[in-house]
Subunit: 397 residues, 2 copies
């Protein structure tokens, strides 16, 4: 089934091996012949990779885009003046091959930091990849942006507007360094909707905060993260404006697509064997709930306990305790996959052996009730396994 960046009308994509990696695909291209408006969010790391800088500049230069060129295997980060020129050159070469302007191209890279791109291979690859552009090539492009990911991540959805079908598609990659604020995570979203510029950026920011910024693998925030969305209007609808029913439909659909793309990243977290949804209810504020949920999701002791299928709830309450929020520990309740484990006044309502069984499934929902206010938040994380260490101890070898 076709699902991904070429699902919406008017988008083509391709993915090839150009030689940055030994043998896996490492170069992806998304192209729309119709000019597309764009929305984007970028890493908040002070150290920003060259392609991030180039994308931000291009957003200042033009409102219409035609392409995204992405390489994996090398992040082109911490590469100084030379790296910046290389990213610019990627946009120029792509523009030349597609007969568009360089500023109409987004440039993206992911992989090891601090090494110069092998530009001969990249430029040669860009020459070749345009010939592979296809209207139904979701998988090759989704494969070509991966680094330590173990599966491709694509999604799509559609909704009706003005009597016409509007489609949103996308692809993403993780899978280490995943943390709020776009940690090593790339996502590219395409839509044949037409969307007014401000509304488009607002929608992408809002949905990113609820999806990509709520996933936590290891707490590291990378230098290269970006979510780029392109809307080429090929569905034939009138541009969607903020505050309209169409905008609500667009937001809902974008939310579903981006939720799938972000949760797939956690599911494929480096060495992950379990997907864990952590919801905090009853905090004083939503912000407090978010702080508590993230701190639990980030705790190596909680994540290793989940990996070992050990309902060591003391580690959960201790993590909330050092999250910096106000709460009364004796009001704390824990519910796992719908089963109460801990009630108020530290009353353990499920013996350890039975509680541990709750952690056996591959997908686990942990609900933490603080019972001190109306603040809620949900985030997603994964367990922490020996495999994570293996992957990251020898990433470059």
């Amino acid at each position: 089934m076709k699902t991904g960046v070429t699902t919406p009308k008017g988008f083509k994509a391709a993915g090839i091996h150009c030689g940055v990696k030994k043998s896996k695909k490492d170069l992806a291209l998304i192209y729309t012949e119709l000019p597309a408006s764009a929305a984007a969010v970028f890493t908040l790391n002070k150290v920003q990779a060259a392609p991030v800088l180039v994308c931000k500049e291009n957003l200042q230069k033009t409102k219409k885009f035609h392409a995204v060129i992405v390489n994996s295997g090398n992040a082109n980060a911490c590469t100084g003046e030379r790296g910046y020129k290389d990213a610019i050159q990627m946009s120029f070469k792509t523009a030349e091959m597609l007969n568009i302007k360089p500023e109409e191209v987004f440039v993206s890279s992911t992989g090891v930091i601090g090494e110069l791109l092998p530009m001969d291979k990249i430029l040669n690859g860009i020459e070749l990849i345009v010939d592979s552009l296809a209207e139904d090539d979701d998988l090759a492009s989704a494969e070509a942006i991966l680094t330590t990911d173990t599966f491709t991540k694509t999604a799509s959805g559609s909704f009706m507007a003005n009597g016409k079908t509007v489609t949103i598609g996308g692809m993403s990659k993780g899978s280490g360094m995943i943390h709020p604020n776009m940690a090593t995570m790339l996502a590219f979203v395409t839509t044949d909707a037409a969307v007014e510029n401000g509304a488009f950026q607002g929608a992408l920011k809002e949905i990113s905060d609820k999806t990509f910024n709520k996933i936590i693998v290891d707490g590291d925030t990378s230098t290269n993260d970006m979510v780029i969305a392109l809307a080429n209007g090929a569905s034939g609808i009138e541009p969607i404006q903020s505050g309209t029913p169409e905008f609500v439909s667009f937001l809902n659909c974008l939310g579903k697509v981006m939720k799938k793309l972000s949760i797939d990243i956690v599911r494929d977290g480096e060495g992950a064997t379990k997907l864990v949804e952590i919801t905090v209810e009853g905090a004083l504020t939503d912000r407090d709930a978010d702080k508590a949920a993230r701190t639990v999701a980030l705790s190596p002791l909680v994540k290793t306990a989940i990996h070992g299928e050990d309902t060591n709830w003391g580690r959960i309450i201790a993590a909330v305790g050092y999250s910096g929020i106000e709460f009364d520990p004796s009001e704390f309740e824990i519910i796992i996959n719908g089963s109460p484990v801990l009630k108020k006044n530290y009353e353990v309502v499920l013996p350890a052996e039975e509680a541990n069984k709750l952690l056996e499934p591959r997908e686990i929902k942990i609900l933490l009730k603080l019972n001190c206010g109306a603040g809620t938040a949900t985030c997603w994380t994964c367990d922490f396994s020996e495999e994570y260490i293996k992957i990251n101890g020898s990433y470059r070898t």
Copy 2:
């Protein structure tokens, strides 16, 4: 060689197995017949274990202490009213056996959270342990406070004051959940100095901030941490006052003892194979330097790279980038064990193969120069290994 809590004059200690753990020693007692003044610092976690509450109360009730009773294997945390009563009972039983007042006893626990103490075993143990008190029993007591530690941690030092030898001794335990602000970490320091109360507390806080609060294993902050120091004056010196040469000597000696006790905790970090000292120089402020050093020390990606002996310096600079401080990445320099690896403008001055050799030793010093101010800070961490996951995935089984 005798080194530990009984090295200073007038202190006795003991360590026995009372049955909280299967077979290892799990109950320790420190005793001074001469009354001792005390200084203490405690965990900042909102969730505070029962023994922490009892110690804080006792500090309000009296200025003179005679004993510290410690059990390992069970933290007596998140145990509600019953847990609080159990901690009180530990102080009463110890007081009864030693013929002192309950408030003159510090109570400490470490181990699993959320389970009630087996009080029959603990009380029986307290009856027995007083018979084992000895003036040269540093090792049994140091052993009895351990949880996942792989070796005992003791230290001692001495200095001259008023023509007399003054000695400071101590023991500590880690080894998971180590983070600033006293994460699951117990340390007990004894001295035969006499120290004016305010000066004693000031010294302990100052040295804790430079030692125990600068060690980072996994970022989790526990519910039970404490550093307790007892000064019984058995050396015969006049009480040391703040601002005197004797106070400076005391601070220096206390600094050496506590540095050894804290660094031993990192060296014995769960699954650790390497001790890593991270120094940041040239930050805008000391506070910024501290933030940067801690963020690097806490990054799972940096810690796994060090474990894999991979000088993946991009991960170091990326961690500083998301630490929240201001700096210019192109001014960043990295020096490992004295050898420059990265110079300004991302100039890599050592090929990866050679740089990786710098990570082969068991002790590694990483110096990060930000070149934008005069702020400096040092902290200590360890690498992150498969073993950490194994230990923490099955801690209770």
